[in-house]
Amino acid sequence: MIFGFPLLSVAIWLPIIFGMLVLATGNDRNASLARVIALVGSILGFLVTIPLYLGFDKMTSAMQFVELRDWITHFNIHYHLGVDGISVLFVILNSFFTPLVVIAGWKVVEKRVAQYLAAFLIMSGLINGVFASLDAVLFYVFWEAMLIPMFIIIGVWGGSNRVYAAIKFFLYTFLGSVLMLIALLYLYIQSGGSFAILDYHQMSIPMTAQILVFIAFFMAFAVKVPMFPVHTWLPDAHVEAPTGGSVILAAIMLKVGAYGFIRFSMPIVPDASHYLAGMMIALSLIAVVYIGLVALAQTDMKKLVAYSSISHMGFVTLGFFIFNAYGMEGALLQMISHGFISGALFLCIGVLYDRMHTRNIADYGGVANKMPVFAAFFVLFAMANVGLPGTSGFVGEFMVIMGAVKVNFWYAFAAASILIFGAAYTLWMVKRVIFGAVANQNVAQLTDITMREKLIFIILALTVLIMGLYPLPFTEIMHTSVNDLLVHIARSKL
């Protein structure tokens, strides 16, 4: 807390309050007012997270900006917030994306504008809550509550098969979460009545229980990440969601699952994590290789990027479960970088979709002739997705591969295949969509991106490049927390 100012609470509740305000503007007659309020709210929401970075003490792995109040005294549940060097980055990343999504939907969404924007603002606050919670029930409340706006976003503003995708998304993630709830209740009972996550970190748990708890957490987090074989909801949700929904899904929501592994699974049940690391690594590598191949076969751009996300998230979980500093930091960088890149790619596809109303790769060709500025951005983000040195995509992947080499050459070998498959499916898509001769009449009528769209892409392109060329601001803030986490995980809790 700086000067007693509850920054984290503001980061959570400010977007939610603005979301309520937007909702109060009512029907589409006041759409422009709703847009302005939403923009102001989202920008303010981002600005309040900047002091979190500036005021952050990089020397300690302890929780900072801590807020602790009684909430449900009978169950010893607290309103307990705080961030360490890992979670602070995601709070900022999430708040950074909200204004972009609001701007991206500025002209595009025309029906029930207020509800659309309100859903995003409320979700932004809830996701901040997930990253900042230090109480298990508080975490769970935010974790589940963020499903509701996403469910509505996919179902109301989504594509033709949106209802199926929305219900599949909700039930799939709900399945994972309820098992986690049982695990949390078990920990509550075992710890003698505490819901504090940090207490769980210190608690010793017998091996059988550790494995069961790990599996319960795995169900919750693996579905969210998503890991093979519970990834099947993601392509559906991505394809059907409106652009903004896809961006938040890919950039933020997937990170929530990975964050769960490092906040819950690994520190709470380290022995089970080591014991089951083989399985986790195997699943991660399957995701990298197999899903990479699946991406190669896609004819729908959004589906292709969706599969690419799963493949890249496989890298993240691989980085976690090789238990060394390179892997862990690389994975975290990869999470952030993938947030920027996949968000940008979905925005690019959104730009094309708004003009052509199709996502089929076959419907495009030679877009560069008509939209040169757009094509430049698209190629940049595609290159970042491939992991070209100098872009943010490179740093994380390189570090994870380095970490993997230390553990087992073949892990690294399999993981490195992402560089080939990733290049194959991304560049092939770029070739078919952007380059070549103008494919058809519709493409010939395309107009280049507007100022509004340019603004979003410039911001994202700069972030991708800065992070690729100078990742220190990102690594130095997480360094102490990551090291302490690794030391903690290495200790047995039997």
């Binding site: 449900i72 169950f75 029930r112 409340v141 509550a145 039930l171 709900f174 209740l185």
Partner: protein, 483 residues
């Protein structure tokens, strides 16, 4: 001390009886079709009852009428919620019943008598008073289900309800008589003592227990004794369905507490197993069958069955945690079910029942506010935070895990997951589909305000559930004789 002043703990019941009888007579002279005077009198009676209950509250447990009746914190809290629920039922159903010509003095008086039955059940500590309360409640409800005389479905529902209800009462009485035979007393506390000191005929005792549990299961509609629930919920006028589906559950909870926990606690190892079977079956059948329903009232009926299964989980977990979680669950459940049925009545109009799922299509476009309220109610029933329903499930699951029944907890959440589907379907219909009808929704100011309060209360209790949880825990702690 005069005899009258020792009665103070039962003043609320006595006052209600006097008022119900007086209103019956006053109503003869109220001729306007809205029955305004009767309605106002009934609401004032409920308010006065609440005041009396609060004012006659004693910090200690008071036994009356030779241990037939008890006044403790749990009974006071449950009674207050019952008044609130009944009052809400009347507000919700007023214009609905008026349009159908059913908003009569009989309806209101029968409601009051049903409430009196519930209050007796809540405070009873003797098999006789328990049974009298139950029958007073049931008979009033049978009559009310048949209130719509010219409706074939309502009459059929009333017949079913009556016959099966009578059967259940028979089972219960039979079980009680066996317990009497085994222990030689009808007093709940004395039965418990007698069992603890050893009973010669153990078989008789267990047989009695089986019959009592079966009777209870019938009354709350737990599987496999649930057949009457969907038909009665569907057939009865929605206002009556709402009445059946709300306040009586509070009384049923008290009933279970008094018989199983106060009276038969020494047999807990026997009855907790039975409740586990009932609970799992109820959650399974309730949640799975609800998916196949196209009528919202039937769907809510099956959802009630599933919720009762969850309630039983809390009871069988035992201890302060278990019982208080069950109490919290039932209070939250009543609040949600009032909102759910209230919404059906709100969307209904003359000659039209909005009780089919398709009637909710595109509600978000017709009335965003009502759709939002229904969204909160549905997510709450599904147990998704930040709504009250989540904490209800959380506290029950906490008790279940605390009692070491982790497989039961896993089953419970799996069935909740299945249940989430049909609640989500309502949200899907409201938000994702286009409306089928564009008839403007005429909302009465009173019921419109109430549904808003109701929905927002579910949300507010989802953000700040602490007080109510503590109230339930303290009430249980101070009231039950836990050995």
């Amino acid at each position: 001390m005069s005899y009258l002043s020792t009665l103070s703990s039962a003043y609320a019941e006595i006052f209600l009886l006097v008022m119900a009888s007086s209103i019956l007579i006053v109503d003869l002279f109220v001729t306007n079709p809205g029955k305004t005077l009767t309605y106002v009198l009934v609401q004032l009676t409920l308010l006065s009852c609440a005041l009396i209950t609060v004012m006659t509250h004693e910090p200690i447990v008071v036994h009356l009428f030779n241990n037939m009746f008890v006044d403790d914190l749990m009974s006071d809290v449950l009674k207050l919620f019952s008044y609130l629920a009944i009052s809400m039922v009347l507000v919700y159903s007023r214009s609905y019943l008026m349009l159908r010509g059913l908003f009569t003095g009989e309806f209101m008086v029968l409601t009051l008598f049903a409430l009196l039955g519930m209050m007796v059940m809540i405070s009873a500590t003797h098999f006789l008073t328990l049974y009298i309360g139950l029958e007073l409640l049931s008979l009033s409800l049978y009559a009310m289900v048949a209130l719509q005389r010219d409706s074939a479905t309502a009459t059929e529902a009333a017949m079913k309800y009556f016959i099966l209800g009578a059967l259940a009462s028979g089972l219960l009485l039979y079980g009680m008589s066996m317990l009497y035979g085994a222990t030689g007393t009808l007093e709940v506390a004395a039965i418990s003592d007698a069992i603890m000191h050893g009973v010669d005929n153990k078989a008789l005792l267990v047989f009695g227990l089986v019959f009592v549990v079966a009777g209870l299961a019938f009354k709350i509609g737990a599987v496999p004794f649930h057949m009457w629930v969907p038909d009665v919920y569907h057939g009865a006028p929605t206002a009556i369905t709402m009445l059946i589906g709300s306040a009586p559950k509070l009384a049923a909870f008290a009933f279970i507490m008094r018989i199983l926990v106060d009276g038969l606690q020494p047999l807990v190892m026997h009855w907790s197993g039975m409740l586990a079977i009932l609970a799992v079956l109820s959650m399974a059948v309730g949640n799975i069958t609800a998916i196949a329903q196209t009528n919202l009232k039937r769907m809510l009926a099956y959802s009630t069955i599933a919720h009762m299964g969850f309630l039983l989980l809390g009871v069988l977990s035992g201890g302060i945690d278990g019982y208080s979680s069950a109490m919290f669950y039932v209070v939250i459940y009543v609040l949600m079910s009032l909102g759910g049925f209230g919404m059906i009545m709100l969307l209904s109009r003359e000659g039209f029942e909005a009780d089919k799922l398709d009637d909710f299509k595109g509600l978000n476009q017709r009335s965003p506010w009502l759709a939002f309220m229904m969204l909160i109610l549905m997510f709450s029933m599904a147990g998704v935070p930040p709504t009250a329903g989540f904490y209800a499930k959380l506290s029950v699951l906490q008790a279940v895990v605390g009692a070491g029944h982790i497989p039961l907890a896993v089953m419970a959440v799996m069935f909740s997951l299945i249940g989430a589907f049909y609640y989500l379907r309502i949200v899907k219909l409201m938000y994702f589909d286009a409306p089928e009808s564009h008839v403007p929704i005429a909302i009465q100011p009173d019921s419109g305000l109430l549904i808003s309060i109701n929905g927002l209360a579910v949300l507010a209790l989802g953000i700040m559930p602490g007080t109510l949880i503590t109230v339930c825990a303290v009430a249980v702690q101070k009231s039950l004789m836990l050995h």
